[in-house]
Symmetry: C2
Amino acid sequence: MKTGIIGLLLFSILGISQGQEAPGKVIHDIYKTALRNGKAYHWLDYLANEIGGRLAGSPQAAMAVDWSKQVLDTLGLDSVWLQPVIVPHWIRGQKEYAKIISPEYFGEREVNICALGLSIGTGENGITAPVVEVSDFKELQELGPAGIKGKIVFFNTPMNPEYIQTFHAYGSSVKYRWAGASEAAKYGAVGMILRSLSLAHDQYPHTGVMHYSEDSTIQKIPAAAISTLDADVLSSALKEDPGLLFHYKMNCEQLPDVLSYNVIGEIRGTEFPDKIIVVGGHLDAWDNGDGAHDDGAGCMQSIEVLSLFKTLNIQPRHTIRCVLFMNEENGARGGKEYAKVAKENDEYHLAAIESDAGGFTPRGFSVQDTMPVVEQVQAWGKWFQPYDLHRIEKGHGGVDISFLEEIGTTLIGLRPDSQRYFDYHHSPADTFDKVNLRELELGAAAMASMVYLIDVYGILK
Amino acid sequence: MKTGIIGLLLFSILGISQGQEAPGKVIHDIYKTALRNGKAYHWLDYLANEIGGRLAGSPQAAMAVDWSKQVLDTLGLDSVWLQPVIVPHWIRGQKEYAKIISPEYFGEREVNICALGLSIGTGENGITAPVVEVSDFKELQELGPAGIKGKIVFFNTPMNPEYIQTFHAYGSSVKYRWAGASEAAKYGAVGMILRSLSLAHDQYPHTGVMHYSEDSTIQKIPAAAISTLDADVLSSALKEDPGLLFHYKMNCEQLPDVLSYNVIGEIRGTEFPDKIIVVGGHLDAWDNGDGAHDDGAGCMQSIEVLSLFKTLNIQPRHTIRCVLFMNEENGARGGKEYAKVAKENDEYHLAAIESDAGGFTPRGFSVQDTMPVVEQVQAWGKWFQPYDLHRIEKGHGGVDISFLEEIGTTLIGLRPDSQRYFDYHHSPADTFDKVNLRELELGAAAMASMVYLIDVYGILK
């Protein structure tokens, strides 16, 4: 390691005189090529429109694996391979159905609903029960068994619109989706429904993974999300008729685990072939949309990074590896397996960059490492200013790459503009037509530029 | 004036001890209120979907004047009024029709076309003529009368995708739309068609204002835009069959000028009622879309600024005036009239802020004034950083407010993210569904915050 660090330091010192202009020129070429001849948008068109939603274990996920490997095969890389991963296989089954039943007030009204990922189904007859609305776990606790038993708990907590970065709003609300069913079941609830985690007011229910408590004394109950508009309707209806009934039926189920793959391609480094810089996204996507933003965008951008290096004939000193991770949405098995294999093979991962926040105009990067590393990356901010990226902050890298933390990898997340993300996220609204070619390509160019800077200057630690 | 400047300086000095926290708190409240309770999106829904495209002189423009005055009337302002403006009245007439005629190669093929604003029509029979494709004025000149006479000149110059800010690409291409017809007519062209000024590859033709030379010896010829996809089709077809014919028919015409209005509302300043800060956008919009981004967004944001001041009970020291300018698109008569009246009445305009670049996530402001003023505004950048605005630069304020320059007003343009703007601009794709509530409201909050800072610190010059 010592030689490596001295080498990097030396290069870095030399860089002061030699490298000052060079990164600017190469980054300029990267952006120019991405904006004029980038292919990410056209690839994404195929992935989203021809393959579509692709939950781990589904035939569509298998198609996405085959097709994306074929795309990597066209780039003239040094290696392209599939890394086996055993993934959970949860299926939604028939389209879910739900209605509010309030004979005295407004009869029956159908509701847009979808099962949360990994939920159990309701059985053939569905569930019909009174509803109790809560806005947080504290309220649930206060109601206790007397208020909850035999009822469907309705978590109606709007995402907080006041956060400028919408991920903060998501972060403060997602616990109800993740743990709400078991929390409600503790007090005898028979079902759980959630106001969709969306900042838009519309008819789309938003899915996402949930989790049952490991405590086997807590009943597993079916968990679903309803659209934000329907959540408002239900909440108003409950004010008129607290005794109304809610009926929902869903026959989602967990099938046995199946074999799937991470899809990997790499350009071998000329000087440090054993030191790897990863770029990646996750190939799986929820089944109710076509997974264009989440995370087809990140995958196609990651392939674009390698494509840009090849097109511009940039020969990296380190190995640049594109990894399309399987099963981020409901298990993160791809990320875990990738890190496990890396560890087993004693691979050195210098840095990993993930794009998993939508294909919107990039605004910056978040860096998950010690402050000296964060500051090193921040010092590169000057190279990004002409391209309108201004925010390099300490923060989360990404779910798939997070498992590389324990082998000391610097984790970096691409941070696109977040305003529209949760309008589409995990819903039927996440479709290709919501992606703008330039915004997508600017993200790919930003990632490629960051890879280039890491390749030139190393990570000093 | 001297007292005013000393007052401002004094306030500015006091501001060091008193004001340091205050702007942060007020700006926080502005953003919070806009994101949680803003009304701009709902107003825009009405303007775009119930009134729609509203070119100066049209019944829709008159409806927009009445309706937006009514909206201002609900805010409890100190004054709301209509300022008369005589505007041009150009009408498109029936939907335009065009086709490529190439009997030997692919028969006839219909083309998506629209007249450029202020163009003459083709007459009842339309125009049918061979086509000569050029990419710039130099090529036109080289072809000369021998290559041009009796033909339709086809300006096929794609906007340059390599610019990061799309307005730079627009700026370098718009001359063909503006002056292309007269330039072509100099050499005897009988018609002019333009590749739409759009960075997207789609079927929408994009209109926009054009201009005939004042030289009366140059024939006026009908000018139109075709979609970018059809421009590619036509260009390829010309390679196969240079003798193909192009036919287009449009019966647009210029009617006599009519009376319209700028719509104005204001909150009177508590300390300096005679010193005015303007916020504005333009109320007219091309007739082929619903003018949601251009410039319904800017108008509703400007009304929102006053609404936020009233909701938060911020009593400004200076008069804050919202101006919805009429006729920016094909004459800018509203902007000219507003400045003329301001000059006649010897009104002092401290600053004018225009939003006319779409309702996208705001990225910064451009300031049109001397460098000391630009630097003063740049120093306020710290207040905008928590809201992810990073770019305050010397630059263009806006078309409508530009006429205030001669009375010494500091002109400021809101600069939203520009990536998607030219996909929609002046086309049937500029519709309400392309606007995101949060992005729109963030722009309104940014404008309100800038108004607040100017009100607190003044403009030091």
